[in-house]
Symmetry: C2
Subunit: 247 residues, 2 copies
């Protein structure tokens, strides 16, 4: 299955792309292992008969993508991969379900204004102070409960939310279109369904659920916190990695 390393020099595209492909190829094939010192800008210049600026931009781009590290006076080196990192994409559930070609359904289960506390809300509240709206809703796929959404909204940051009734459009969908954010943290875990969750998701008590929690900030101000609870057998999260950065 391994292709017999027939690469010599790429042929199509711009000079920049060709140079980048060549270098990436050598690194990814293992021909230039981690720690290897790649050619100086000067050498690339004569190899490809290009200006230094061009070589510089190529190497800088590779450095930006994390594939090489550059040190003045020393040269550019193939970087050692540090941790197993991947890009996680968490799409809007409506789009996600419709992408699968299934019927999407949405229902608002409960709405409370002004910091009503519900025992179960747990750590979602850590970063949010009143005034908040608390919502609980359900997303369906093909007629089956697909996710439970617990949502807290900071009304100071998102005053428009107060006038929205979220009976038709889910807070997730609404937020994507109305509120920009600058920082987010996700926490992914598993739990057993308690009686309430079991009832709302139509699963048995004790069934494993995948829980995705997210806190979102904008310039340091908390915007919203959300917890999605999925029946284990209906949902997987997928994350991909490629060193070049293009997922």
């Amino acid at each position: 299955m391994t292709s017999p390393l027939k690469r010599r020099a790429s042929t199509g595209g711009t000079l920049h792309q060709r140079m980048r492909n060549d270098i990436e190829g050598r690194i990814l094939s293992g021909e230039w292992p981690p720690g290897y010192r790649l050619p100086f800008e000067h050498e690339l210049m004569s190899t490809y008969s290009c200006a230094r600026m061009t070589a510089n931009k190529v190497l800088s781009a590779l450095a930006a993508s994390g594939l090489v590290e550059r040190r003045r006076r020393a040269g550019s080196f193939v970087a050692r991969p540090k941790v197993h990192s991947a890009v996680l994409q968490i799409p809007d559930l409506k789009a996600e379900v419709e992408n699968r070609g299934e019927q999407y359904g949405y229902e608002l289960l409960e709405r409370q204004q002004r910091g009503a506390t519900r025992d179960d809300r747990g750590r979602l509240e850590v970063h949010l102070r009143e005034p908040i709206i608390a919502l609980r809703c359900r997303h369906d796929a093909a007629g089956q409960p697909f996710a439970l959404e617990d949502r807290l909204l900071n009304l100071n940051a998102v005053p428009d939310a107060a006038t929205q009734d979220f009976s038709q459009v889910s807070p997730s969908t609404w937020l994507v279109d109305h509120v920009p954010w600058t920082e987010a943290e996700h926490r992914i875990s598993a739990r057993n369904a308690d009686a309430t969750i079991a009832a709302e998701l139509s699963v048995e008590v004790g069934a494993a659920c995948l829980v995705i929690e997210r806190w979102t900030w904008r310039s340091g101000e908390p915007i919203t916190a959300v917890r999605f609870t999925h029946p284990a057998d209906l949902y997987d999260l997928v994350a991909r990695f490629t060193p070049s950065g293009q997922a």
Copy 2:
């Protein structure tokens, strides 16, 4: 808590950085919302009295980071965030546990050469053909079972693995140091512990577990597949996002 938008123009660093900070600031503050057309290279040129090349590099860098989109003849626009994406970092478990300041323990439970099939292995095998090594091991934190690791290794891609007994060092740790990879896919899900898992993790049958599966390739050749099974209450995955790309 919200800072009163005192930014006007950054002051330190290189011109490139200052321009970039200014623009990012305006976008992240919401002053330039998604869809907003930012100044043409030409305009930035006179605003900052710089060469077009400099403006171009700034805008190109912002485009590369996904914060803006550029269209010929039309201009550069603040990008609409598409999906909620985040950088997921999955460290080596040994490092992870020791980072928490807890005692790390490791035990090899089982080893089978040459594609021995175990019913339970399930979809891990999808991409791997023989010859393979199959391992099952346990990672402990502070004396408690912390993760179960099911590991498949492609001996064609990693012949050295045949001579390694993994009784002292875990395959994860060994692989990080010995095998480069170019592509990976993760799948994160939840499941209830069956009798086997419950016994090996010292949890009750039916307890929710967080399952992280990973397939790794190198230039298209499958290297290894692994499944980590964590007791739900001992492990969360954390993922962070900042639009600038610097986790």
